[in-house]
Amino acid sequence: MPALLASIGWEVEPTHFLILSGVLFLLGVAGVLTRRGVITMLMSIELMLNAANLALVTFSRSLPAGMPGVDPAEGQVVVFFVIALAAAEAAVGLGIVYALFRLKGSTDADLANLMKW
């Protein structure tokens, strides 16, 4: 552990942002795996998307500038698309939550077994 801490260092490097992004992603995964409320699971998915965005911005920021074929705008464009898709996902996901609640009277994910054979 001390060697790990020494290799990370105090000065903020891209590595720090990536580790933070990994931790946030893991929080989202744990939320989806351990919770039963569909809305909490949706919020955990948003956490995961955010962690991915953070990693993407870190990579695009730490690209070597001026190299041919390297465009720092690309990573940011992808993040923009991810945010737009997250909005679409939230709309559809909440529509499904509403339909589930109307059918079952609860938002427990274990009740969503309508498509079981």
């Binding site: 290799s7 105090w10 000065e11 903020v12 590595t15 720090h16 942002f17 580790i19 933070l20 990994g22 946030l24 893991l26 929080l27 995964v29 744990a30 939320g31 795996l33 351990t34 919770r35 039963r36 409320g37 809305i39 909490t40 919020m43 948003e46 956490l47 955010n50 965005n53 953070l54 911005v57 870190t58 920021r61 730490s62 690209l63 070597p64 500038a65 465009d71 720092p72 705008a73 690309e74 464009v77 993040v79 698309f81 737009a84 997250a86 909005a87 679409a88 996902e89 939230a90 709309a91 559809v92 909440l94 529509g95 499904i96 939550v97 509403y98 339909a99 609640f101 938002t107 427990d108």
Partner: protein
Amino acid sequence: VISTLAFYVLAVVAVASGLTVIRHRNPVVGALFLVVTLGCVAGLFFLMGAQFLGVVQLLVYAGAIVVLIVFMIMLLNLPREEGMPTGKIQGTLAVVLGLLFLSFLVRAALAYRPELPGPFLAVGPEGYGKVAQVSGGLFGPYFFAFEAISLVLIVAMAGAILFAKRDL
């Protein structure tokens, strides 16, 4: 030094409130702490100089998506007990597999050592994160993807209406 301090404060607050999002029983509290996490990530975007994305993050995520989630929670009038943590085996399995996965991610992150012209947060690429740069990408090589996104949004809107319709 200021930006280093800001990074650590934002990181700790983001992780702590993210933990609250996935642990708290009341989904309204979870949604409010989700706003805190998203705000911290937006702050990290600003710290890295990605101003446009930080603003978009605040507007779209905190301003639209979380409002939609809170609206839905209040519309459904969910009881407090909603979203009880699932069984013990699943929880411990999630923690163990999660830590394993996290160790892989940390290894990968430690291996990422790009050559930087200076301190990471101080020296960035020219004009990084400005609206002009992002729009140059959006309306340049990614023009058709940008148009496809609008199609996706329309389809999602139609799908949400379809799901919420009482009788089909």
